[in-house]
Symmetry: C2
Subunit: 407 residues, 2 copies
Amino acid sequence: MNYYILDKTNIIEYLNSIENVKAYFGGDNLSIDEIGDGNLNFVFIIKSEKNKNKALILKQAVPYLRCVGEEFPLNRERMTYEIRALQSFSEKTPLHTPLIYDANEQMSAVVMQYLDEHIIMRKGLINEVIYPKFADHISTFLAHNLFKTSSLYLNSTSKRKCMDKFNSNTELCKLTEDFVFTFAFIEHETNDIYAKGHESAKKLFEDEKFKKAVLGLKYKFMTQSDALLHGDLHTGSIMLNKKQTYVIDPEFSFVGPFGFDIGALIGNLIMSYTSHMAQETEITYCEWILDLIEEVLTKFESKFLDLWNEQNESALITSTFIKEKELNEFKKEFMLNILRDTVGFSGCKMTRRMFGIAGVEDIREIKDLKKRDKAIKHTLKISKRFVKHYKEIENIQDVITIIKGDK
Amino acid sequence: MNYYILDKTNIIEYLNSIENVKAYFGGDNLSIDEIGDGNLNFVFIIKSEKNKNKALILKQAVPYLRCVGEEFPLNRERMTYEIRALQSFSEKTPLHTPLIYDANEQMSAVVMQYLDEHIIMRKGLINEVIYPKFADHISTFLAHNLFKTSSLYLNSTSKRKCMDKFNSNTELCKLTEDFVFTFAFIEHETNDIYAKGHESAKKLFEDEKFKKAVLGLKYKFMTQSDALLHGDLHTGSIMLNKKQTYVIDPEFSFVGPFGFDIGALIGNLIMSYTSHMAQETEITYCEWILDLIEEVLTKFESKFLDLWNEQNESALITSTFIKEKELNEFKKEFMLNILRDTVGFSGCKMTRRMFGIAGVEDIREIKDLKKRDKAIKHTLKISKRFVKHYKEIENIQDVITIIKGDK
């Protein structure tokens, strides 16, 4: 099938060519709505006219950045990697991945479950919603998807095949290299206008020790092929309610360092925390976020280790190679390295949101500039420390202590 | 062109279909000899009957291990990676790579310069030959090929393309994972018969701390995508004389950790040293090997840094990102990490040669078993220390001190 751009005039015909979709709607007349909030892609809601509860989403990548237009070309092959990652996540954590009805790499299009009872997590956090199941859900998502695409689980051949499938997501990896690890830490034309003359921006851009540590983390991002990552796991890539959690939008997926996805998530939870602290939200909500961070880290570690303990043979370890005592020591050190990387990447992810091109609503939308600055300063205090000292972290409690600012 | 196995009956016709080869021989009648010493592949010497100084080598991979036969199948695509690596080395260090006349991935065959004035380095070292230019040559080879295929030189897209070209050399990477990092450190059917009941083997197989450190190094080997490696750079993969040095046989090539190639080389030089020490060779020759090791490490570091200092823009660093002082600190720490990895991999490479499937002639061919055991013990003393303590190395002098046994 040759690629063409889907729109209201041709989408029904396209959908009717897909058996799974036809079966889902059972021949009902369909209504099509475009959702305008996608930055990169076109997103359509397809509904049965007879039964509005029957609905699917169609997402298609176009060869440019949707929110800017054709003057910002961006390879539509990004959808190839989104599709492949969704398929991988579906296998490992079907409860936390939207159900896929059709995936077409040639058309750069995917048809999937419409999550109409869920909201973007960032919005929920801004509105002070408590999600009692989230730590459990996301730690399952992280542990299973990271462990099961790593050399601790796969055999050598399968690991290389996995790398092969994602290695050419070059353009989106480059976006991360530029926007997460580079431009937001120097004077740069892409930075937010708010950076101009801002005291904290000036101090950040002159912090050479911080930038030296960033280079080390950027190098890890580019060369450490631990496992298949979502690649952009902030709270805007999660849709949830109090009972269910879904991870969406993995177009930045590639095989990279374990700590990058966990770091992205933790960093975004911390920015929610500093945002609420600056805005003097009820302290119980702030404390809930802190507990959530600790719970995510703790549960991730224990679930990852559980999976590892069940696994006797992998590319790395054959069952009779080493005695249990030393293997357990090895695992302990391995988990500590993941935690350290998590903290380092988390620091980069937070810092770049302060003055870089893409802010987070939690902070950039604080109307009271005094409070916004308070949140920025608080975030930077944590994030700079994370980046400069991630190698000194010894356990999860150290991370929480830095966030709380007790030492 | 469909693959077929070349032999004396069809090789002339094949050669005549290659313009470069025809031009080289200028229509002379050709004589063909098979060299019987290739383990993996068929190797033919093609000579002009008129002028015996006109000669080329043709090397072809067959879908099995040549030295065993068809009952040991081995993907002939290994030649694809050998060809690609030779092409990459030719561009970067033409003086140290055999001249390629033809490379044909479909035929798994390469025609190249016949190195008739050079011998395999291992043989030269066994015969106590001094190579005054070797450190200079091999450090150039290592610095240029490693630096120029890394994220310190390439841009992000070119680095991923380089990974793509070598990522599927799965079978040979697996051989290394098994034979360099696993089987030789436990009781295993593939081990040398000499291991049976040998005191040093028993101690090695029970050294759980050693094996724990090996796991960390094996994990690095499998996941750290620094640069294009030769993948098997022992002294049997080097042909040289007092004036020239050529690196051959890169069928194990893939994108892996910087320290692996340097470590392989250093480890093999150390085994030459321990072999000569055990056999009470003239001390000046032993000292020359020690000086050589130091010179290789020192020159590699300075040449790698020279290349880096010339390079303002790469996937990792954009020119205005960081001040010179901190960049230099970063480089210094980076080089120290390469040195540490070098030491760790070197230790694995040496240790596996003691009782694993493939020994080195330097040691396994010592007829006097007392002396052989002395060499084995000496090697293990160094290699175990390398593996267990590579992270504590602070500079090149530390490495030499461990080899000399002064601490």
